[in-house]
């Protein structure tokens, strides 16, 4: 199966051969009976889409190595959290990691948005909500004596991490999620994917906002 027929000549050539076969079968079936041609068209198209989606999921993960920045003895921690950004468990972890070392913390809050709004570039609301949660979290960290910077990031947490790493160069990443069963990020295996993709130690913190409130 040609993964991306326009990435190399060999892939384009393979794609051409597949196209020839695809149309040859449809034309042959249509010559027998029109309904058979339609059936073959539907079946082959479904098979092609299925194979293409499977080949996409099997593509090897490109590992991103993170360049070390910052001074000697300084520990740089990148925190990725959205609704759980003000959670007590997360703040406790950051406080603990900040004890006794010179720490530089960047909290990134992905601007979660619906797919429709993302396509329509309607991100103002999502960014404002993320900024509001981020401000509250940074204020809490400041009260606890941890100086942290903050930024609103891409709605895709993995992309938000990658964007942040390009300028921040973290020694460690902390990903905060809701507990299993309530977390979209865990359902999408964001933590596992981040471990596969980024060449940095990753700590996963589960924040149970319901338990904290009660």
């Amino acid at each position: 199966m040609a993964r991306n027929p326009f990435r190399s000549e060999a892939e384009a050539y393979r794609f051409l051969l597949l196209t020839v076969g695809y149309f040859a079968l449809i034309v042959a079936a249509a010559a027998i009976a029109t309904w058979l041609g339609v059936a073959v068209f539907v079946a082959l198209t479904a098979a092609a889409v299925g194979l293409w989606m499977r080949s996409r999921s099997e593509e090897p993960v490109q590992r991103t190595s993170v360049a070390r920045v910052g001074g000697e003895g300084e520990r740089r921690i990148l925190v990725i959290a959205n609704e759980t950004v003000g959670g007590e468990e997360l703040l406790a972890i950051i406080r603990r990691k900040a004890e006794g070392v010179q720490v530089h913390v960047l909290v990134v809050c992905p601007a979660l948005n619906s797919q429709l709004r993302t396509w329509a570039s309607d991100e103002d609301g999502a960014r404002a909500a993320a900024q509001s949660r981020l401000d509250a979290s940074l204020a809490q960290l400041e009260r606890d004596g941890v100086h942290a910077e903050g930024a609103v990031g891409d709605g895709d947490p993995l992309q938000a991490i990658e964007d942040a790493l390009r300028t921040f160069g973290a020694d460690e990443i902390v990903i905060s999620t809701h507990p299993e069963g309530r977390s979209h990020w865990l359902e999408r295996n964001v933590v596992g994917a981040a471990r596969d993709r980024f060449d940095v130690p990753i700590t996963h913190v589960v924040v149970d906002l319901g338990a904290s409130a009660s």
Binding site: E9, A12, F15, L16, V20, V27, G71, R166, T167
Partner: protein
Amino acid sequence: MSAHADTHHGPPIANKSSRVDASVLGMFLFIASEAMLFGAFFTAYFFVRVVNPEAQAWPLEPFHLPVFVAGVNTVVLVTSSFTMHWALQSIKRGNRAGLKAGLVLTLMMGVAFLLTQMLEYARIGFNPSDGAFGTIFFGLTGLHGAHVFIGLTLLAVATVRAFRGHYTPEHHHGVEIPGIYWHFVDVMWIVVYATIYLL
């Protein structure tokens, strides 16, 4: 960020926020624009077919398409993709003679395809002003012909460079890109031929 400033000199590393690599994105945009261009013509073509549901045979009288000649032309064009692929595989193995022969054969078959299409236009018996079908037939095949002409121009440049001693097993981008384009042109012809002439 002060520590960062202490250790990093020069401009900051480019922050690529897009989830798609720039070159891949560019190619996707190109493909999307081409798909929309051809898609517009195919939409018009299928519209004409749909509004003529009483037609027992397609195309309607008095239009007759030279299916056999176009089929031979299709074989010529698909074969030119084989020779294009051979040319690139040859230079990857350091075979310069194979590269030159492959490119020349591809170029010749591309020219043969275009000349045959011109002859077909001259003898087909209708012209673009003969109703919606005539307009769309010449529009679609002519649009494809224009792509073949662009491909031939790229191939001609690659061929001249090959004869001047350019390209090595490590550096053959100037053959690879026209090759991708040429296969794309062939794929589009398969779609056009199957749709217009056969189905």
